[in-house]
Symmetry: C2
Subunit: 253 residues, 2 copies
């Protein structure tokens, strides 16, 4: 057996999130059971992912490591996708893991996209895939305010109470807000994020976008270093884990 | 009561198509029953749509006419959306129907989009919303070949055997094929289409795109005026009814 790196896409709606749960199906469990079948045995080994997404969060470029046979990347991908069916999880690309590489600890940056449907009526075609915000949002204002969060800060104001990270210090490398028609896209990138950090930042950015908060308030919220200072957590359904960077890059195919 | 024009969006996956069926839920039935509730009565009146989409086909700008009370467009939209829940059907905009206007017969053009996911692995995030074609497609070749179908022709080669139109003659005004990443978009517009015409044209365009047919074959298939000459019907799941034109335009709000 060899350690493989798999790039996977999933629809988060039917799952309890990445991490195995006692009650309800998790993406980790589905990937581990498919891999066990590809190995031809009943023994399940642990899958480690670059990020542990919450229930309802989607992914289009999640990286996972797991033990699999020594086959070509094409055969590993086909075999995994056969056994992942009918779950909405697919392996997009894969490669044997480089020596000493770890899906979680070797990641030098992680990217997320958050999608808001900003229109009067709820989404029919994209239910469960976007956050519906009725109140008209000013994406330009949101973008400008977002820039105050860039850099190395104590992000306690945007950290879930259940967050298990040792430190609330994080370095935010990129945070951009753009509008396309009635959709608002929030793109962000950092080495790592605190639990709920992206959803909490989006919740507060929406306060600025709808005009409830003046833009400078976002810096005050950050300075307060208190979850109570920030706004609500944006719902999971609008969040997509979009990619991971490793140095050197994985030779995925 | 007044005749209203409603612009609706729907996810076609859970429905038997637009038209009422004895076995299984149709979009028409859901709209008619929601409208009856908005009218506060049990009596159901008929909804007429600009197009009758098949099972699994989606819509983002379908126009429907139905009797509703004399209220503001805002209240009609809110009331309809309340009663349409939890079905994935929403009223986007609406207005009282102009005198003599008919959702079906007054339409001067109808537009459709067809989306192909053109990559090695099946879609997880967009299952049921795109046609997955593994074989690499050349969108430029498809677009060039598509132009031979423009204009006034006998479209018998692209007509479902169940088609009830009196004539196979149709005028195709627009047919464009573009690629964005691993998606191929086919956009088309005509006064009206034969049953399955868009899906049958897409099925044959894919033959050209994958290199199985030389581009000039599309003109031969059209000339044959026989369904047997063309390729398979592309699946319903990739098709979106995107809009209708009326002259004068509806004052939707």
């Amino acid at each position: 057996m060899t350690l493989w790196a798999l790039e996977i896409e999933y629809d988060g709606r039917p799952f309890m999130g990445w991490q195995r749960q006692k009650h309800g199906l998790a993406i980790q469990q589905v990937v581990e059971e498919a891999a066990a079948r590809v190995r031809g045995g009943a023994e399940v080994t642990e899958a480690v992912s670059a990020g542990r997404t919450d229930a309802g969060v989607h992914a289009m470029g999640m990286i996972v490591q797991i033990e699999l046979p020594e086959l070509t990347p094409f055969r590993i991908r086909e075999a995994m996708n056969f056994h992942l069916k009918p779950n909405p999880i697919v392996v997009l690309r894969c490669c044997p893991a480089p020596d000493g590489w770890n899906a979680r600890f070797s990641a030098t940056s992680r990217s997320y996209r958050y999608i808001i449907s900003n229109r009067a009526v709820p989404p029919a075609l994209e239910a469960g895939r976007v956050w519906h915000v009725r109140q008209k949002l000013d994406a330009g204002l949101m973008h400008d305010a977002a820039q105050t969060l860039l850099g190395h800060h104590d992000f306690s104001s945007f950290r879930a109470s259940a967050c298990q990270a040792k430190s609330p210090m994080r370095t935010l490398d990129f945070l951009a807000v753009t509008r396309e028609g009635d959709k608002i896209y929030v793109e962000t990138r950092a080495r790592s994020f605190l639990h709920h950090q992206v959803r909490n930042m989006v919740g507060s950015l929406v306060k600025v976008g709808e005009g409830s908060w003046p833009a400078p308030k976002l810096a005050e919220v950050l300075d307060a270093k208190s979850r109570a200072a920030a706004s609500v957590t944006a719902p999971a359904e609008g969040l997509y884990f979009t990619g991971v960077v490793y140095d050197p890059a994985l030779p995925l195919e």
